[in-house]
């Protein structure tokens, strides 16, 4: 994103106020591989307000997870790093914070839940010990008190018979229960921000809804703001207040949920929506040919610098300018940003 784009984006997006708990500006995270530099996150900005749910959507490899890991500075050393931009949490700049200070934020003020509940818990420690560990580190609870609180957290995430379960190992629990344990770990210290990276993707559909509802309910109870990363627009519609659509490490579109679903502007967002199976009131698929629409082409390699719009090679609206000049995030209404040169023409085309 150019400096100009950031400047345009800032006033249209919720302005950084006391209401804003997390503020990301022009974040750039790169990985250094043998084949060259991968620009996984290439100038992303957004604000998160206290207690709200913000969704980040996009295909695999669009930089969603890297954005999340960057916020907690969990990008593996040696593999990649944040090369530019700013992340402010309650006014504290995280990108330059010393590691020991950062550690006090992780799992305490900002927590994270990962995609794979089967592998995200330590197999040789009891789940109770894994929850208690956070409480011990951040709240200084002694062994006994931390354990009692861990058992309590298990009952809060609605695991039956929490006393017994606390003493069990992850392999004795189902996938859904393990994700509940992850939530218990994440929320144990009442964090201000919860980053959930595809928390339900690896779960059965029936369990997905339970886990999402649990997260949202606890969010209300604790006043935690959630950054929910997903590729599932169904999840977005059910959970979020605001949505950011990411493509190839950049922000393509940002709007409130209602606005985005009613009036998607970016051709990529439209493509995403075309690829959800939908049913009309009569039970027939709404697509004309009765088939799901796919977005043709593949996600571009992030190894080369993309001069224009990253979506241009796959976009049916693309004109020459799209390939040479990066589109700024322009406002399209009170709170609606989209990075598309041809937005007017796209909007004129019925979906």
């Amino acid at each position: 994103m150019t400096a100009l784009a950031t400047a345009t984006a800032a006033p249209a997006a919720a302005p950084a106020s006391s209401d804003t708990i997390l503020s990301v500006r022009d974040l750039r995270t790169q990985f250094f591989t043998r084949d060259g530099v991968v620009r996984a996150v290439d100038g992303v900005s957004f604000d998160l307000k206290r207690g709200e749910t913000l969704c980040i959507v996009g295909e695999s490899g669009c930089g969603k997870s890297v954005t999340a890991l960057s916020i907690l500075r969990l990008i593996p050393r040696g593999a990649g790093r944040i090369v530019g931009g700013s992340i402010k949490f309650e006014g504290t700049e995280l990108t330059t914070l010393p590691e020991d200070q950062m550690r006090k934020i992780r799992g305490n003020r900002i927590s994270m839940i990962f995609q794979e509940p089967m592998t995200s818990l330590n197999p040789v420690l009891t789940v109770g010990a894994q929850i208690a560990e956070s409480l011990h580190i951040h709240q200084g609870l002694d062994r006994r008190a931390a354990w009692d609180r861990a058992v309590e957290m298990l009952s809060i995430v609605r695991i039956a018979d929490p006393k017994r379960r606390a003493g069990e190992y992850p392999h004795q629990l189902s996938g859904g229960m393990r994700q509940r344990v992850m939530i218990a770990i994440a929320l144990a210290c009442n964090p201000k921000v919860l980053i959930a990276d595809e928390p339900t993707t690896a779960l059965d559909v029936t369990i997905q809804a339970q886990i999402l509802n649990l997260m949202l309910e606890l969010k209300e109870r604790l006043g935690t703001a959630i950054v929910l990363i997903t590729h599932d627009l169904g999840v977005v519609a059910e959970t979020a207040q605001r949505v950011i659509v990411m493509y190839a490490g950049r922000k393509a579109e940002e709007a409130s949920v209602e606005e985005l679903f009613r009036n998607p502007i970016h051709p990529y967002t439209r493509g995403l929506m075309g690829s959800i199976p939908r049913r009309t009131a009569t039970g027939r698929r709404s697509n004309i040919r009765g088939r799901l629409q796919e977005i043709s082409g593949i996600v571009p390699s992030l190894r080369e610098e993309i001069p224009g719009c990253a979506f241009a090679p796959r976009c049916s609206y693309a004109v020459d300018r799209c390939r040479t000049e990066q589109p700024p995030l322009d406002p399209h209404g009170p709170y609606h940003l989209a990075a598309c040169w041809e937005a007017a023409r796209v909007a004129a085309t019925p979906r």
Binding site: L74, R103, G107, F114, S120, L121, P123, V124, S134
Partner: protein, 313 residues
């Protein structure tokens, strides 16, 4: 668990029977008449006959085997041909130095190798990692006796910190024993240090790339605790396995080390018995070593359950 241990102990019986059979026929498989071999090159036929009767070699083979096994079951490993002392007595006399040497070696190896491996994995592909791995290559490549003589030269002859050779039994005070065993333990421990450090690094590297390590970081766990509490316990099974294998291999290393450092242990007993063709001693020692290996294996298998709750017997 108890049932498993009992089952495993019962399973050692056939193993030990096979070992006993092998050991017994060792004598009969040697070329020529065992009695003549034992009696020596210039023995008269009467002397050979005497040896034969003494060893019970004039009886049918199956009867001899029966007598041998019966003896084993009663804790009788036979009698030395040359010293006429029971093998058990000879072993008991030599057991302490070897046991002290083996355990000290293992202790030295584990205490140095595991931190080395952990640090190397943590600092993978840095100078620290390269130094540790370089040391590991040297540890593998340099033979025990060379390390032994080098250590003697530097620490005993030049610096005069430690005795050159010999062994002080525990009855003379543990500090004396420790002084006499430090150099042999390091000399013998070098190769195990190299082996254990290497496996620790490899196992830790694998574990450190796991999702739950990222979870631990995301919880705000300090690096030290991530390495020791979260990673090392997960990496333990291959490490313990290698330590166990090392313990079994140690027996051959003990022979050389005891020779270099002039320690009157089982290694020296073995070498002397082989040179003198004192078959009962050789047989007894083979049985003893086989028994130790079987027990070490069992202990290793049981220790897995301590490190990994998913392993249940």
């Amino acid at each position: 668990m108890t049932a498993y241990i009992i089952r495993r102990l019962l399973a050692t019986i056939p193993v030990m029977i096979v070992v006993a059979l092998f050991v017994f026929f060792l004598l009969h498989l040697t070329p020529g008449d065992p009695a003549a071999v034992i009696a020596g090159d210039d023995a008269t036929p009467t002397e050979i006959e005497g040896v034969r009767r003494k060893l019970g070699l004039d009886r049918p083979v199956w009867e001899q085997f029966g007598i041998y096994v019966w003896g084993l079951l009663n804790g009788d490993l036979g009698t030395s041909i040359f010293s006429n002392l029971p093998v058990t007595t000879l072993v008991a006399q030599r057991l302490e130095p070897s046991l002290v040497l083996a355990l000290s070696t293992l202790l030295v190896a584990v205490v140095f190798a595991i931190p080395m491996g952990v640090v190397a994995a943590w600092k993978a592909r840095t100078a620290v990692d390269r130094i540790v791995m370089g040391f590991s290559v040297i540890g593998f490549a340099v033979p025990v006796f060379l390390v032994g003589y080098l250590l003697i030269y530097v620490f005993a002859i030049e610096l005069r910190w430690l005795p050159v050779q010999g062994y002080r039994p525990l009855s003379q005070g543990i500090d004396q024993t420790a002084r006499s065993i430090v150099l042999p333990a390091f000399a013998l421990g070098m190769v195990y240090m190299a082996l254990i450090a290497r496996i620790t690094r490899a196992s830790m590297l694998e574990v450190l790339s796991e999702d739950y390590i990222r979870t631990a970081h995301a919880k705000g766990v300090a690096t030290r605790s991530v390495l020791l509490r979260h990673a090392l316990k997960n990496a333990a099974v291959p490490i313990v396995t290698v330590i166990g294998i090392g313990l079994a291999l140690l027996i051959s290393g003990v022979v050389i080390t005891e020779t270099v450092f002039n320690i009157p242990g089982l290694g020296r007993l073995t070498v002397d018995a082989i040179l003198k063709r004192d078959y009962p001693i050789i047989q007894g020692l083979i049985i003893l070593f086989a028994g130790v290996k079987v027990m070490v294996n069992l202990m290793i298998d049981i220790s897995y359950t301590f490190f990994d709750p998913r392993i249940r017997y």
